[in-house]
Symmetry: C2
Subunit: 497 residues, 2 copies
C-alpha cells in the first residue's frame, strides 16, 4: 500500500486510523513511515514542474507509446490526473517556455521563436515568473535543466526568481558539433557558428558539453541535482525541472542504452521515466509526497524530421514548429495525493499558461500586475469535471500571423505555410530528414470526430466559423497578427541587452 492510498484511508476512517495507530504503538511496530499526519489544509504544497523538450503527445505509455514502457509515468497517471486536452501555446522552445513561466501568450511579451546563443533579447526582467510569484509566498525556488529565455546574465534564472540554477542555457544542438557527432568545421553551417555549449551553475559557466559522452550524462546529472534540491529544502519549495531530452542530439547513459525495443529514442524515454521515478521517490522519502503537486508536460510536439530520433504525436497532425495538434497538444500528468482524485481523467481544455494563475490560486499569491492570459484551473485539479475555466485558445508560431483558434471541439485554421515532413524520407541516426513548405486554405476541424485534422468541415458549419472568426478578430486586436506590424494594442517588449 502506498502513501497515497494510505493517507486517503486515514482521511476516510479517522476512528479506524486512530485505533490502528494506537495499536501500532502498543505493539512497537516500526517501518511505517508511510503513516503520517495529513498536511494541514492551509499549508502550501511543494510544486515540482517537470518540463520536457520536444516530447510528443504519443510518447508515454498512457498515450500509446510502443516498443518501450514508461511505468513510473503510467503509475503517476494512475495515482493522479491526466489531462487529455492540454496545450502549449507555442510549438517552439523559447516561446513555449516564456509562456509557461509568465502565464502569458508569447507574442504579448515578445518571445515568439527560439533564441540563439548570444541573442540580443531575452525574457524581460519586468515580467513576473512563477518563481517570483512563489518567492512572495516564501517558497524556495530551484531550477534544473534547459532555460532558453536568454543566455546573457541579466536574463538567466537567478535574475527571474530562482534561488539556484544548474543546467544548459539553451538547446543542446546549439553547439559546434554536427548532428552526426563530428566537429563543425564548415564555417557556413549553423553549428560552426555556435560557441561551446556551457553548463551553468548559478550565473557561471562551470563546464562545457563537448561531446556525445557529455550529452549522455545530462539526464543523470540533472536528476541527481533535482533530487539533491528536494532533499535540501524546507517546505514549501518550487522545483522547475526542464529536461534537455528528447531534444536532439539524444543522450542516454550507459545504464539505459539498448534497454528498449525502439533504439536510442526508446532508451532515452526509459531513462526519462526512471528520472521521474527518482523525483517521486525523493518526495516519498522526504515524507512530503502527499502535499506536493508534481506536473509532467512538454514544451511542444515532436521534431518529426529527425525520424527515429524524434517522438510521436500519436496520430495528431504534424509536430513541432506547426500549430497543428501534433505541435501544440502535449501530454500532461498531475499528481497531488492530498488534493487530486487518483486515477482521474480531465478532458477540459487547459494550457501551460494556466499553471501560473493556478499556482497563485493554490498558494494565495497575488497575480502579476501585467496582464496575463492564463486562467485558474485549480477546480479541475480538485476533480471538478463540469466547469470549463478556459473557453478558447489562440495559436501563433514565431512571427507569423494568427494561425488557429480552438474552442471546445472546434478548431479554425487560417491560411498559412508550414514545414512538413510528409512525402520526405525522415532522418535517421540523429540526422534530419528533408522538409518542404506547404500551405493550407482556411479550414474548420471537429476534433471530437477528427483529432487528426483530416477533414475540413468549414462549409458545413457557418455558425461555428462565425463564432471562431470573432474570437480570432479579438485576438488580432489584442495580440497582433505579427510582431512587425505591432497592430496588437496590448503587447509588451522583450528584454533587451
Amino acid at each position: 500500500m502506498d502513501t497515497v492510498h494510505l493517507s486517503r484511508f486515514i482521511q476516510n476512517f479517522n476512528i479506524f486510523a486512530l485505533a490502528t495507530l494506537s495499536l501500532l504503538f502498543f505493539f512497537g511496530l516500526s517501518g511505517f513511515k508511510e503513516i503520517k499526519a495529513q498536511a494541514a489544509p492551509d499549508e502550501n504544497p511543494n510544486i515540482v514542474l517537470i518540463f520536457m523538450d520536444d516530447l510528443g503527445y504519443g510518447d508515454l505509455g498512457s498515450t500509446g507509446a510502443i516498443d518501450y514502457q514508461t511505468p513510473n509515468l503510467d503509475k503517476m497517471a494512475s495515482e493522479g490526473m491526466r489531462f487529455t486536452n492540454f496545450y502549449t501555446v507555442s510549438p517552439i522552445c523559447s516561446a513555449s517556455r516564456a509562456a509557461l513561466l509568465t502565464g502569458t501568450y508569447p507574442n504579448r511579451i515578445g518571445i515568439t521563436g527560439a533564441l540563439f546563443p548570444d541573442s540580443q533579447i531575452g525574457l524581460n526582467p519586468e515580467e513576473q515568473t512563477i518563481a517570483e510569484l512563489l518567492k512572495q509566498q516564501e517558497y524556495a525556488t530551484g531550477m534544473v535543466g534547459k532555460w532558453h529565455l536568454g543566455d546573457a546574465r541579466k536574463f538567466l534564472p537567478l535574475q527571474h526568481g530562482f534561488d539556484e540554477y544548474f543546467g544548459l542555457p539553451y538547446s543542446n544542438d546549439m553547439w559546434p558539433v554536427n548532428y552526426d557527432g563530428t566537429p563543425a568545421t564548415d564555417t557556413t553551417s549553423f553549428h560552426a557558428k555556435m560557441p561551446p555549449l556551457p553548463l551553468i551553475e548559478g550565473n557561471e559557466h562551470v563546464e562545457y558539453i563537448r561531446d556525445q559522452q557529455d550529452q549522455d550524462q545530462l539526464t543523470t546529472r540533472y536528476t541527481q541535482r533535482a533530487v539533491d534540491f528536494i532533499e535540501r529544502q524546507q517546505q514549501p519549495f518550487f522545483l522547475y525541472f526542464a529536461h534537455t531530452m528528447p531534444h536532439v542530439p539524444l543522450g542516454v547513459s550507459q545504464k539505459f542504452r539498448g534497454k528498449s525495443d525502439q533504439g536510442l529514442y526508446g532508451d532515452m524515454m526509459m531513462e526519462i521515466d526512471w528520472s521521474v521515478g527518482q523525483v517521486l521517490q525523493a518526495l516519498n522519502e522526504k515524507g512530503v509526497a502527499d502535499n506536493t503537486l508534481v506536473i509532467f508536460t512538454s514544451d511542444n510536439g515532436p521534431w518529426l524530421n529527425f525520424g527515429d530520433h524524434a517522438g510521436s504525436a500519436g496520430g495528431l497532425r504534424e509536430g513541432k514548429q506547426t500549430t497543428w495538434e501534433g505541435g501544440v497538444r502535449v501530454p500532461a500528468i498531475l499528481l497531488w495525493p492530498d488534493v487530486i482524485p487518483s486515477g482521474s481523467i480531465n478532458n477540459k481544455m487547459a494550457a501551460t499558461i494556466d499553471l501560473l494563475p493556478t499556482f497563485a490560486s493554490i498558494t494565495g499569491a497575488a497575480l502579476p500586475e501585467n496582464k496575463i492570459d492564463g486562467v485558474d484551473i485549480f477546480h479541475l485539479l480538485q476533480g471538478d469535471n463540469h466547469s470549463q475555466p478556459r473557453e478558447h485558445l489562440v495559436f501563433y508560431y514565431n512571427q507569423n500571423d494568427l494561425e488557429a483558434v480552438l474552442k471546445g471541439k472546434w478548431k479554425l485554421v487560417f491560411p498559412h505555410h508550414w514545414r512538413t515532413y510528409e512525402d520526405e524520407p525522415p532522418g535517421e541516426n540523429g540526422l534530419s530528414g528533408d522538409r518542404h513548405l506547404v500551405s493550407t486554405e482556411i479550414a474548420l476541424y471537429n476534433l471530437r470526430r477528427d483529432p487528426g485534422e483530416r477533414y475540413n468541415v468549414f462549409e458545413q458549419n457557418p455558425e461555428v466559423v462565425e463564432e471562431l472568426m470573432k474570437l480570432a478578430e479579438e485576438a488580432r486586436e489584442d495580440l497582433g497578427d505579427d510582431l512587425s506590424d505591432r497592430k496588437g494594442m496590448n503587447k509588451r517588449e522583450p528584454g533587451k541587452l
Copy 2:
C-alpha cells in the same frame, strides 16, 4: 478506500490487518465488509467480459473522449491494466463476436460479416466457445445482451455453453422502424423487411422492442440482469455482458438524457459508464472483486456515417467496416486486483481472439480440439512487459481478400476498396450520412510514427515489406483470400439451418 487497495494493504501488512480486525471486533464497528480474506491462489477467478457494440478507440476518458466523462472506466483503468494496442480481428459485428467467443479468425469458421434475422447460418455448434470451455471447469455461465451469431434456436447462446441468456439476438437497428423513428412502410427498404425485434430469455422470445422508449431501457435492463446474475452465483462464474450500445439507434434512459455536453451520444456513454460502475459495485458487494477478471472492450470501431450518433476513433483512420486502425483497434481495460498490477499500461499487440486461450491458461481448461488463432496473454496480465506472445495479426473484412497484415509497428495494407465518410456530410440525429467507395494502392505504415495511417512508406522499407508479404502469403494459404475461392486449406464450415 476501495476493496482493491484495502486488499493489497492486507496482503502487505498481515499483522497490521489482523490487529486491525481484532480492534474492529473489540469496538463492535460494522460496515467493513470490504475487509475479507484473499482468494486462495488456486481458486479460479470469476470472469466478466463487457463487450461494446461500435464503441470507438477514442470514446473513453482515458483515450481522449471530450464533452462527457467516463469516471468508472477511468478508475477501472487506473486500478487495472489498459492495453493500447488491442485489436478486434474483424471490423463487423458477427464476425468479431464469432472470433471473440472461439479464439479463431472469423473466416476460418465461416462467419465473416453481419448476420441478419432468419439468417440460414450461425456459429457452428461444433465450435467450442469460451462458455463451453469454462463449463468444463465448472463455471456458471451467463450471457446478457447482443448475441448476433444466429437467431435460430440451434445457434442461440444456450446451445453454445451458456446456462442462461437475456438479450437481443442481433443488432438493434434490425427492426421495422426507420432510423428517424417512424414505422418502416416502404417495402423496398432494409427496415421494412425486418421482423419485430425480439427480446430473448433463454431460448424464448419474451417481449418485442417496439419503439424508442423500449430501446432507451435496454442498458438499464441489461445492467439489472447482469447485476442479478452476479448476485445469484456461486464462484466461479463467467458473465458475457454484450451491450447493445453504442450501436444506432442510440437508447438512453431518462436519468442520463441531457447529462453530457455531447448530446445523445455523450449521454449514452455516461449511462454505459454507470453500468460498468454497477457491475463493479455488485462484485464488490458480493466480496468477489479481488479475484474477478473484468474486461471491457469493443467489437469494432465507430460507425462513422452516423455522425453525431457515432463514436470517435480518436485520430485513427476510418472506422467500422474498414480494416484501417479506426475499424479494428479498440479500447481494452482489464481489472483483476489479485493479479493485474494496478495502474499499468501494456503496449504489446493483443487481440480479442487471445482471450479464449488466456482463460484456458488461467483456469487450466483444455484448449479446443479445432485449431484456434488466439495466443495466451496471461503473462501480460501479470505485468510482464517484455514477452510478446502475439507476433502478428491479419485482417479480413467480410468476404473480401486479405486486406492487411500487422506486425509490431508495421502495417502492410493490400489494394482494396472500402466505404468512406470522407468528403461526405456525416449523418445527424440518428440518420446516416452518405458514404462512397474509395480504394488504396499497396501501402506500408509505421504505426509508431503514424498511427493515423497517413504516410505510405512502402518504397523506403523493402525488407519490412518482404517480411510482411511472407506473413500475408502464409495467411492466404491458411485462411484463404475470400470465402468463394475456398483456397485456404484450414477453413471450417459455419453452422447451417
